[in-house]
Symmetry: C2
């Protein structure tokens, strides 16, 4: 399998799905059109669509069929996007560019950056609500509805203060501390929540919506945790070993910002070993399932051994 080709084909298809769930724009009739433009600009500004891709692959691995996973894929990408929009704000990371494009607040102003983020987070749940509410009307037997309700619970928990927002908070607070106050435990907390939470939730939600049993969902959670950690350590490694040309952003930024990473805590050799160990464990978890996990396995390996 040419994994890069496969990923880009899937990303293109997934982007069409996401697009179909985005709010309508209408220059003529809406007073509130600006926020719609800003939201859609943010979501369509690029990205690998990694989280919805993981969600769909997990859904297929457990025999999921049809479109039940679509609204959740779109909602996940909206939540991921809102977190970037707010993270880029002047009071947070103050970034004017992301993936070579102007950030949302840089184009639409700071107030609209805040409101577009709020709008996206809320719209993610509007999308889920519509799906659950349609299913609850159409199928009063409750089978699919109870899967969707559980997926909604996982999505909201992993996106919130016990998940992504929680990681963001600790990351923000750590920037004001002396680097010597960063511990391995706290760094693991930040990585697990800030990067790991939505990856875990994506893998879990795909499994839940396909009707996988509790043990399988728990294994996908664990695989997501390992993948998230490996992914983030690889990020730290690339920041020290890659080049501006390959990475698309200046290397060495962690060092310049006196940021504590696994590489500075452990040294390069241990960090490289740890990525290998975590990724092998994550892939091994996939072996236990009877479905075809070829794509997911290759995706795991690609993400962990990527060069940018």
């Amino acid at each position: 399998m040419d994994i890069e080709k496969e990923m880009s084909d899937r990303a293109e298809r997934i982007e069409k799905i996401i697009r179909s769930f985005l709010p309508e724009e209408n220059e003529q009739n809406y007073y509130d059109n600006t926020v719609r433009l800003a939201m859609n600009y943010s979501v369509l500004a690029g990205g690998k669509r990694l989280r919805p891709m993981l969600m769909e692959a997990s859904f297929l691995l457990f025999g999921g069929q049809g479109e039940a996973v679509w609204p959740f894929m779109a909602a996940m990408e909206m939540i991921h996007t809102y977190s970037l929009v707010h993270d880029d704000l002047p009071a947070m990371d103050n970034d004017e560019y992301r993936r070579g494009k102007k950030t949302t607040h840089a184009v639409y102003g700071e107030a609209m950056g805040i409101l577009a983020g709020d709008g996206l987070l809320n719209y993610a749940y509007e999308t889920v609500a519509k799906a659950i509410s349609d299913a609850a009307c159409g199928q009063p037997d409750g089978g699919q509805v109870s899967h969707m309700a559980r997926a909604f619970a996982v999505l909201s928990t992993y996106a919130g203060i016990d998940g992504m927002v929680g990681g963001q908070v600790v990351d923000v607070e750590s920037e004001n501390l002396d680097p010597s106050e960063m511990t391995e435990e706290k760094l693991a907390f930040i990585y697990e929540k800030k990067t790991g939470a939505l990856i875990q939730a994506s893998l879990m939600i795909g499994a839940i919506l396909a009707g996988a049993d509790d043990t399988s969902v728990e294994q996908m959670r664990e695989a997501g945790s390992l993948l998230g950690r490996a992914f983030q350590i690889q990020d730290d490694i690339l920041d020290m070993t890659s080049s501006l040309e390959v990475l698309g952003k200046p290397i060495g930024s962690d060092e310049r910002n006196h940021k504590v990473t696994y590489v500075t805590l452990w040294g390069m050799e241990h960090a490289v070993d740890e990525v290998k160990r975590l990724s092998q464990e994550a892939v091994r978890l996939l072996d236990g399932f009877s479905g075809d996990s070829t794509f997911l396995r290759e995706l795991f390996c690609y993400l962990i051994h990527r060069e940018r």
Copy 2:
């Protein structure tokens, strides 16, 4: 009925319910405790608890029993609170005080103000998700679940770009325009969405969760729309006729900010007549229901004829 006494008794009881749904604080064990403190500070900084009060009263009017409405009351107040927290940010209204207390970003910093707002909005949906997911597991017959799913859809729609966020966006954009560009239609749009949407949703959700029929839910939506408009026009009137002592904030702020209101558009006499007309219509809608609407009727009148 001594409506002020009744409102304050209910607010006290409702605050206990809301408190029971707020995130746990734990100084010792959580790296992410700051955001929990900031969220709880924001929610517990006072307020009339008007929206959950309307929701509960509507629930009772339609014969609702038990605690099914509680998580939605808490979620509604969290959403209302997050909107205030973000509205107070320096990039928005830049307010250091609200109801005589420091605003969230003034206490915890701007980044934490953004994250606490995000955390609250998300936590509102976590609260709803837990309720729906518990109900879906316990009662696979789907009756209560389908009410809750519909309530979730109303909550998210009225809180988002088609509701409160939409009104906020147009309000923010209007501040940069020449006051002569404000039209009656646009002002109605802002009032209906920014103030009206959550009031409408509260009345509708109470009815939906109590199992009211579609016509009744639609009438509560209409009552909420009339109430929201009357409430906001009364606000404009008070800003010109009240005093610092009664209102608790300086009067004449709209005029100083060159803000177009119904009073400046229509003149005082017409504005006062309009509040009377809207409130009579809203109360008349309550007459159609067989349940005891005494409290709701008096609450409507109080809100519209209030002096602060």
